[in-house]
């Protein structure tokens, strides 16, 4: 909403948002006596509230005291939430008003989308949306909403969490693997996308041998592009650990790792993975035990020195 500098008053009036009128100066609110916060004269940790903040919240306290639930209070809660979207008490009261007045919840979804867009890392805006979707029983806008938010911040925890809740609650897994493919294609290091991949598999196909084989191929392909990418290695470990052969029992994976070593393509993540493979074999296999110690030494002294305390400790435990 831009304000034009030139042009006449007419254009300025059209383009500019109306100036905020304090509630205490509004005719239609004359019947309400505002209530200031209980500790208006705080001696300690006193927030220096603006005039507008005090005004809006003084009126909110007043309507809360008499439990007024009306359209005008709905608008008041909107002002209050724009000033502090983390006020969970106001969100709760707003939901009570929506229920009481039987407001069209689709209208509320629009408001919710706006708040999410403005405050994407806030807990309350996302919980509110979940509550509205639950009341409506309609998830049809949710995949698009979360996808749009993820376009701004591909790792927004709240967005992923909301999406997981939607697909799980309403059984909407169909497009989810493709979403993961797309997001991993866009950023191979997007750990949230890799996590979602695991989540989708857990809730749909499970970890059957055929499915795991296909996913192993996919993951090894991704690892080949960037052998330092921990997300892919963690995913590989995760799916193998779901199979009965475990992390050490997959020939393709073992060969892949050996080839990287042979061609001198070393990364801390590769060596750490080999440590895990050999740890799994270590109980029965003396050679594996020696290999663990050798790898840990290499990691501690050369390849991954920040973690030397851990690698040295691990070597002692085998």
């Amino acid at each position: 909403m831009s304000e034009t500098e030139s042009s006449g008053d007419e254009c300025v009036l059209k383009c500019k948002k109306p100036a905020f009128v304090l509630y205490r100066n509004r005719e239609e609110w004359k019947d309400v006596v505002p209530i200031p916060q209980a500790d208006v004269h705080n001696a300690v940790v006193a927030i220096n509230y603006s005039e507008k903040f005090k005004d809006v919240y003084d009126y909110l306290r007043a309507v809360l005291a008499k439990q007024e639930k009306s359209e005008r209070v709905l608008k008041l809660t909107e002002d209050a939430l724009n000033l502090n979207p983390a006020n969970y008490s106001v969100w709760q009261y707003r939901r009570e008003i929506l229920r009481c007045l039987k407001i069209d919840l689709r209208r509320e979804l629009v408001f919710s989308a706006k708040m999410i867009h403005q405050h994407p890392k806030n807990y309350q805006v996302w919980y509110h949306r979940k509550a509205i979707v639950e009341m409506l029983g309609d998830p049809s806008a949710e995949l698009e909403l979360t996808k749009n938010d993820l376009e701004y911040d591909s790792k927004n925890y709240h967005a992923w969490q909301h999406r997981q809740w939607v697909v799980q609650t309403f059984g909407m897994f169909d497009g989810e693997m493709v979403l993961c493919d797309t997001m991993i294609e866009a950023d191979i290091r997007n750990n949230s996308a890799w996590n979602h991949r695991f989540f989708v598999m857990s809730n749909t196909t499970g970890f059957t041998p055929q499915v795991v084989a296909a996913q192993v191929d996919y993951t090894l392909q991704q690892i080949s592009k960037a052998i330092h990418n921990e997300s892919a290695w963690n995913f590989l470990r995760g799916i193998l650990c779901q199979t009965k052969d475990g992390i050490s029992g997959n020939i393709k994976v073992n060969t892949f790792c050996e080839n990287l070593i042979a061609s001198n393509n070393i990364s801390p993540q590769l060596l750490a993975f080999l440590v895990d493979i050999n740890m799994a074999l270590a109980k029965e296999d003396q050679q594996a035990r020696e290999k663990v110690k050798e790898l840990c030494m290499q990691l501690a002294t050369d390849v991954d020195t920040i973690r030397h305390n851990y690698w040295n400790y691990l070597a002692q435990t085998v």
Partner: protein, 406 residues
């Protein structure tokens, strides 16, 4: 004085982009550019001035004491976190061994009292409904104040009923009535219950199993089952299990592997999730898991004794002291960010863990001895001294009769 890394060689630890440029790598390289410069310059400077880096106590105290009085308009968005503001300031001051005087202390108790609700829990501000997070913060703040006046403010019977009222059918805890349930809920409830001696087995039955569902394939804990492993939630999960004596329910090697991998090899600080950026606050959320990890290792049969915490305690202090001290006081997330009370609290807590987390009587201190803080209790994140005082006080009071009230 402990020996840190040779910071003149810090560029050896740069991220390897491998010719695959993505948003993740671009952002990581950007952060490393800033941190490398600061770390390298300190490496050079400490050849002449061996007593580097210095904890800027004076500036931090100025920032904290000023915040004790007055917070600017920007803090309006924390109007529902007023007990948190009190806790962040008080805990930071206690780590710097500079508690408020008796008058201010009393005023703070009164301030927190105005956030207390009929239900026994605390809200984010006067008149706001009770919520587990500000309740956790209020309890920690009151225990940090440590006076009988402060601790007696807590209505233990009502508080216990409040905790009961938030437990869900699946044994998770909601943050407040009609709200989200995630792993923070059970941690806050347990921390409150244990500190104030209102814990009952019945209250938390089933909760350990719910927490275990939050452990992911990466080894860390998510906020809810299915989601990504995350430092804040990982701390909540591990500490909560500890507080129930159920820490052996998790896949421990997987957790340890995930936790150590979160330390950034160049910056020295911790990231919250795989392939994300370093942030000073994870110094506590991630770093704080390690004293607990060592406690677990000590109880495991046949395991060797660790000779330190299993992360790089020196590098973490280097990150915080060199990259995260704001010139006007306060600690920051990473270079380029502004200071705030949350990052100050968790940054200082992280320094305390890195110094005292292995052996409180033989701290590992980067920089001059004046950099030494005081030990922190790794489960509650108040000072060990405050925790002892509080548990002594509350243990002398009987645990309220548990009653499951609807």
């Amino acid at each position: 004085m402990a020996n840190g890394r040779d910071l003149k060689l810090i560029k050896d630890f740069r991220f390897d982009e491998e010719n695959v440029s993505t948003v993740t790598s671009i952002e990581q390289i950007n952060v490393e550019d800033n941190c490398e410069e600061l770390l390298y310059q300190t490496g050079l400077a400490s050849e002449i001035e061996p007593d580097l880096p210095v904890l800027n106590r004076k500036q931090h105290l100025e920032f904290l004491n000023s915040s004790l009085k007055y917070l600017p308009k920007g803090y309006e968005v924390l109007d529902s976190s007023q007990p948190w503001l009190c806790y962040w300031i008080l805990h930071s001051l206690s780590l710097l061994e500079n508690p408020p005087n008796a008058e201010v202390s009393s005023a703070l108790v009164a301030r927190l009292a105005r956030c207390q609700t009929e239900s026994g829990g605390f809200g984010g501000g006067p008149g706001q409904s009770a919520h587990l997070a500000p309740t956790y913060a209020a309890v920690n703040a009151l225990c940090t104040l440590g006076t009988v006046e402060a601790m007696a403010l807590i209505d233990r019977e009502k508080l216990q009923k409040f905790l009961y009222s938030l437990k869900n059918a699946d044994s998770s805890f909601s943050m407040h009535h009609g709200s989200e349930a995630d792993i923070r809920g059970v941690y806050c409830a347990l921390s409150i219950a244990r500190l104030t001696n209102i814990y009952t087995e019945e209250l938390f039955s089933g909760s350990a199993e719910w927490i275990v569902r939050c452990q992911t394939y990466e080894g860390g804990f998510a906020g809810v089952p299915g989601m990504e492993a995350h430092g804040g939630y990982a701390f909540c999960g591990l500490a909560a299990l500890f507080l129930m004596g159920q820490e052996d329910l998790i896949d421990f090697p997987a957790f340890l592997r995930w936790a150590v991998s979160r330390q950034m090899k160049l910056e020295g600080g911790f990231q919250g999730r795989t392939n994300k950026l370093v942030d000073g606050c994870y110094s506590f959320w991630q770093g704080g898991a390690f004293p607990l990890i060592n406690l677990i290792l000590k109880t495991k049969e046949g395991m060797p004794m660790p000779l330190s915490l299993l992360f790089n305690q020196e590098a973490l202090q280097e990150y915080l002291l060199i990259c995260c001290q704001h010139p006007r006081g306060g600690i920051i997330d990473k270079p380029g960010k502004s200071q705030d009370l949350y990052h100050t609290c968790y940054g200082l807590s992280g320094i305390s863990v890195a110094q005292f987390g292995f052996d409180p009587s033989h701290p590992t201190v980067i920089g001059p001895p004046e950099n030494k803080l005081v030990p922190c209790h790794p489960l509650y994140n108040i000072t060990s001294e405050s925790a002892e005082k509080a548990t002594t006080y509350f243990q002398s009071l009987p645990c309220p009769c548990p009653g499951r009230l609807i």
